[in-house]
């Protein structure tokens, strides 16, 4: 059987494999103990997890986050979300086909329903990501009892998927440290305060009108929690996109892709195409390359990528073409993605006929933005339960902003409980706003005087909230205005004061600082370039293409050395000797060969109209559009007629897409009646509400 495990990674350790056996359709396969069923299947090259009961189209993993229900499989006779359930030894797994048969149980088997436990707690925190963890630490340090619940098996939320160094403020939010390591640090800080109880693999199901919160603890026990205050730190969910072929196995949300690659260490793709040029899409592209996955290209509908320029530049330099003012027309293939077709868009974002291009790829990653997961917050407010909201659940921004927002909300809650005398410092709110700010204008790149001594070259020209470089230079020669870390860094020394410690090269989160050393040979200076791939990939004497900031090839040069420095933290430094005229312009090395990014000779037209809006019930954009054109404005009526929004996910995916269809059809948003949102957050077996013990009666 094919093996799609990641065997080496420049950042992530590859754990010792303790393997177990399970079966897929009766065939024996190997899994890693402690991984999800979905990861085990992906690692064995299985991409089709089941077939949709309505149209029998193949289904694969999409969100990997327990939200969408696309990855349902039968495990030991029960339907389960394969992305949330852990694989067990000898587990019998098979595809979900048609409606599942409910497991047979002897009707005479005794059942012993038990009352549901109720727990009082001063503060309930829903979500153990950056915001929830930070808030919990603030509460715990002030001796406030709190319960933190998270539906995953470990703390950290999406931090555990972030292998790159974080942007933001070094003082406020661990900027310069990798997300995975921030998760560990926050967890350690939290575990040190005994006041905060932590329930993992525990899903919040509903906030009820009697101000009790239903939680499925550790996937087993349903408990009603009665908090005095609830903090909703549930993060974000990904927006979906309507295009033809959008439910083919191989179309993933960006979060799913990062989960599979960086948490589960499996390769969901060989050749990936990315939709969306925000930070999420750009970073996912970088993560893919680090995992040894080819990135065929990236489309962004706007004329400029919305993510940080340093992320975009980095990706282009690695050899990934970015198609701005382009959109995806279709994902093509019979049972899984085989190619993608894109086209240019005009100023109205309509595809321009004749500009279609297709690329061979096996996966499409959707990264077209995020929406807050704020339903618990809204329900708590409606029901009069004192509620706070932090991180992406409040406002979509970088994880660094979520860390800080959690800290502020933690303090605000402590104050409201009378456990903190000091008000939240005013400057914290300002810092919070700065961390949340979107990228500002890009300035012209200023290259330093050349010829003598040593000088760093800062290829970072856009105003973004990021300051680690300013604390890296032991002589303080890189300066960022501390009053507003969005300002662009400047080298304030001359060519004789740098000691070539290379900490700025290794430590810039955007890999946007190089060092040019003229001392040995002024006509062929040595350029130090940051590099985050496996050491085995590049060697002394290899020839590489060096590029300027924006990915223009400058020369093919020989590597004179690859090394790390004590503070490298897995970032390597590659050195080349370059002609003096190009040396300061060198910003990076091409990683990916051009062949993988070439378009196919002819574009692949997609003939069926399978643009799905509701993934659960497989309702097409055409069906919804027809109703909108008939004058339907109540989404609940559209739900009645089509079933869009009635499925397992509870309208988490189609909601925003249907709103978009209304906009496209020219219906003003104040005329559109929203879906009525109802519990439960995810589907839960009836036995949990009856208080049955797992083994009871079976």
């Amino acid at each position: 059987m094919a093996d799609f495990r990641i065997k080496q990674h420049p950042i992530l350790p590859i754990p010792e494999e303790k393997t177990i056996e399970f079966t897929w359709q009766g065939k024996k396969l190997t899994a890693r103990a402690g991984e999800t069923i979905a990861a085990a299947l992906m690692a064995n090259g299985i991409r089709i997890f089941g077939y949709h009961p309505k149209d029998h189209s193949p289904l694969g993993i999409f969100c990997a986050n327990g939200q969408c229900s696309q990855c349902m499989v039968m495990a030991n006779g029960k339907p389960v979300k394969s992305c949330m359930e852990l694989i067990q030894p000898e587990m019998r797994v098979s595809p979900a086909e048609g409606l599942p048969e409910l497991p047979k149980i002897s009707p005479a088997a005794p059942v012993h329903p038990a009352p549901i436990r109720e727990i009082d707690i001063p503060v309930l925190i829903v979500g153990g990501g950056p915001a929830g963890l930070s808030a919990a630490i603030e509460l715990g340090r002030r001796g406030i009892r709190a319960l933190l619940v998270d539906d995953k098996h470990r703390l950290g939320g999406k931090l555990v998927l972030q292998t790159h160094r974080f942007f933001g403020s070094t003082d406020a939010v661990y900027a310069g440290t990798r997300g995975i390591d921030i998760a560990t640090r926050l967890e350690e800080e939290l575990r040190a305060v005994p006041e905060v109880e932590i329930w993992l693999h525990s899903t919040c199901l509903a906030v009820f009108s009697d101000r009790k919160v239903g939680i499925l603890k550790e996937g087993e026990e349903y408990i009603l929690v009665k908090p005095e205050i609830i903090l909703v730190a549930t993060g974000a969910r990904e927006k979906f996109l309507a295009f033809r072929g959008n439910t083919l196995p191989g179309v993933y949300g960006a979060g799913a892709f990062q989960t599979l690659v960086n948490r589960d260490l499996v390769k969901p793709a060989e050749k990936l195409f990315i939709v969306g040029g925000g930070n999420v899409g750009l970073i996912a592209g970088y993560h893919a390359l680090q995992a040894g996955i080819g990135v065929v290209g990236l489309v962004e509908a706007l004329p400029e990528c919305g993510g940080y320029k340093v992320h975009k530049d980095k990706l282009i330099r690695m050899g990934v073409p970015i198609y701005t003012s382009h959109t995806i027309l279709s994902a093509n293939g019979k049972d899984r993605v085989e190619s993608v077709t894109i086209a240019e868009v005009d100023s109205e974002f309509q595809p321009v006929s004749g500009t279609e291009k297709s690329f061979a790829c096996d996966s499409v990653l959707i990264a077209v933005g995020l929406d807050p997961v704020d339903e618990f917050y809204k329900k708590a407010q409606e029901f009069g339960l004192p509620a706070y909201v932090a991180g992406d659940a409040e406002e979509i921004a970088e994880a660094s902003a979520a860390i800080f927002s959690g800290k502020i909300k933690g303090l605000e809650i402590a104050r409201s409980l009378g456990k903190e005398d000091q008000p939240v410092p005013k400057e914290w709110y300002r810092t919070g706003e700065i961390l949340k700010s979107r990228p500002g204008p890009a300035h012209h790149e200023e290259l330093p005087e050349t010829g003598v001594g040593v000088a760093p070259v800062i290829h970072c020209t856009q105003e973004i909230p990021c300051d680690p470089c300013s604390s890296l230079c032991s002589h303080g020669l890189i300066e960022i205005d501390k009053s507003d870390i969005r300002s662009v860094p400047k080298f304030i020394g001359n060519n004789y004061c740098c000691e070539v410690c290379e900490r700025c090269v290794a430590g810039c989160p955007g890999l946007a600082i190089t060092l040019v050393d003229y001392r040995a040979n002024p006509t062929l200076p040595v350029v130090s370039i940051p590099y985050e791939f496996t050491r085995e990939a590049l060697h002394k004497d290899d020839r590489v293409t060096v590029e300027d900031t924006e990915g223009n090839a400058l020369a093919d040069l020989e590597i004179i050395g690859v090394h790390s420095i004590p503070t490298s933290d897995r970032t390597m430094i590659v050195q080349v000797q370059a002609p003096a005229d190009i040396a300061p312009r060198i910003a990076g090395i091409r990683i990916q060969t051009q062949a993988i990014t070439e378009p196919m000779d002819e574009y692949v037209p997609h003939l069926s109209d399978d643009t799905i809006v509701c993934r659960c019930e497989h309702i097409t954009a055409g069906e919804i559009r027809a109703l909108i054109r008939k004058g339907y404005t109540d989404m609940n009526e559209i739900k009645i007629v089509t079933r869009a929004g009635m499925g397992a996910c509870g309208a988490k995916t189609c909601d925003a897409l249907i709103h978009r269809l209304f906009r496209e059809e020219g219906v003003p948003s104040d005329k559109v009646v929203d879906y009525t949102k109802r519990p439960l957050f995810v589907e839960v077996p009836l036995e949990k509400f009856a208080g049955l013990k797992p083994a009871d009666g079976e």
């Binding site: 509903a206 409606e382 009526e637 009645i640 077996p685 009856a690």
Partner: protein, 388 residues
């Protein structure tokens, strides 16, 4: 008058819900120019979409029996006649008995129901478990089974009534509540809304849980008040039982509970709250799921693994005696009440809609007149229905 004078209609129906919508269809078919007014944004957004979809004729009084027998005829032939799938499924109803009290109640009832010509029988434990093998046999005495009853989707059904009513010229105005009735010389002649004043020869109150508010527009008290019931739906699974299962044993918090498997595979279930939860609160509670789940896994242990998808609450427009109110008001002529369906509006609706059409066109039959004696607004509400 500040209000604009708007068109005149033969009939104005207040409420585009379970009752008002099919009534608009049948009135339009009979040639009446019909307007339906509703405060909500689209059809069926009050209690119709909260209904679980059970349809039975096996009641205990001739009025509901007759109306529902006709409803079943209409529902079961709907797709053939109108082309729309409303997910009708003839799965029957089964009332189970696990104690002697319920055995006696149900056996007494069966006598009455059979006398009314209904296809219903008492079966002993072994027999009912042949029909539904997953019923818990421990303590099971038996139960009644009525194979001609069934269920359908209230959502799809109302939408089909609606589109066919539109096709036949009925007019629906949403987001437009009736704010006053225009009464002249003891006769209703129109309805006011924020948009203006419509003339009408007949006004039908089909406002469900809000029936009394509409009655008050004419100064008439309609003894209907809402009781808030909670329900839930599961994921769909392959069919494993047919009938609606009803357990009428009281338990803390509920006087009975019932569940069935819809044509599309989901189990839909709810309880009758005990004591009643009067009022318009439809916000979800934390008590419902634990209360109903323990009862369900006891009656059918196999249900333990089915996953609950969603819960909601809807309003039962209750009358004091459990029977609907279908009557012309005596105080104001031309004002027809079609209210107080006590949670059975959906199953009564098409049969009732036809009756209302005959009432408006003054073509009621002797059988209709018999039905209307039971549903009079002016009856003694002191009696109690045997089986709600």
């Amino acid at each position: 008058m500040m209000n604009a004078t708007l068109p005149h209609y033969d009939v104005i129906i207040i409420g585009a819900g379970s009752i008002g919508t099919p009534t608009a269809l049948y009135l339009s078919k009979a040639g009446f120019k019909t307007l339906v007014l509703d405060a909500g944004p689209s059809v069926g957004q009050g209690s119709n979409k909260k209904a679980i979809g059970g349809i039975r004729a096996t009641h205990s009084d001739p009025a509901k029996v007759r109306l529902c027998l006709r409803s079943i005829e209409i529902f079961s032939n709907w797709q053939q006649e109108y082309g729309d799938d409303i997910e009708w499924y003839k799965g029957g109803y089964m009332f189970v008995a696990y104690r002697e009290q319920e055995e006696k109640t149900l056996k007494d009832l069966v006598e009455k129901q059979r006398a009314l010509g209904l296809n219903i029988q008492w079966h002993d434990s072994a027999e009912i478990r042949q029909i539904v093998p997953d019923l818990n046999p421990n303590g099971c005495i038996g139960g009644t089974f009525s194979p001609d009853d069934g269920n359908a989707s209230p959502l799809l059904a109302i939408h089909s009534f609606y589109t066919h009513a539109l096709d036949r010229g009925a007019v629906f105005h949403f987001n437009e509540p009736a704010t006053a009735l225009v009464i002249r010389g003891g006769r209703v002649v129109g309805v006011k809304t924020p948009a203006g004043e419509y003339g009408a020869d007949v006004v039908i109150n089909a406002a469900g849980a809000w029936a009394d508010q509409i009655g008050q527009l004419a100064g008439i008290t309609i003894p209907v008040r809402p009781d808030s019931h909670e329900a839930a739906i599961t994921e769909p699974v392959a069919r494993f039982f047919d009938p609606m299962i009803v357990d009428i044993r009281p338990a803390p918090g509920s006087s009975n509970f019932y569940f069935y498997q819809h044509l599309t595979g989901q189990i839909i279930f709810c309880i009758t709250p005990s004591p009643n939860i009067w009022g318009f609160d439809t916000r979800e509670t934390s008590e419902f799921l634990p209360m109903v789940s323990r009862r369900m896994v006891e009656v059918m242990p196999r249900l333990r693994n089915i996953r609950v998808r969603r819960t909601w609450r809807g309003l039962y427009p209750m009358t004091p005696d459990g029977y609907p109110i279908i009557d012309w008001t005596r105080e104001v002529s031309g004002f027809l009440q079609a209210v107080g369906t006590c949670g059975q509006g959906f199953m009564l609706a098409p049969g009732l809609a036809e009756l209302l059409t005959r009432m408006v066109s003054k073509q009621t039959t002797p059988e209709d007149d018999e039905v209307l004696r039971y549903t009079s607004l002016y009856r003694d509400f002191g009696q109690q229905e045997l089986l709600k």
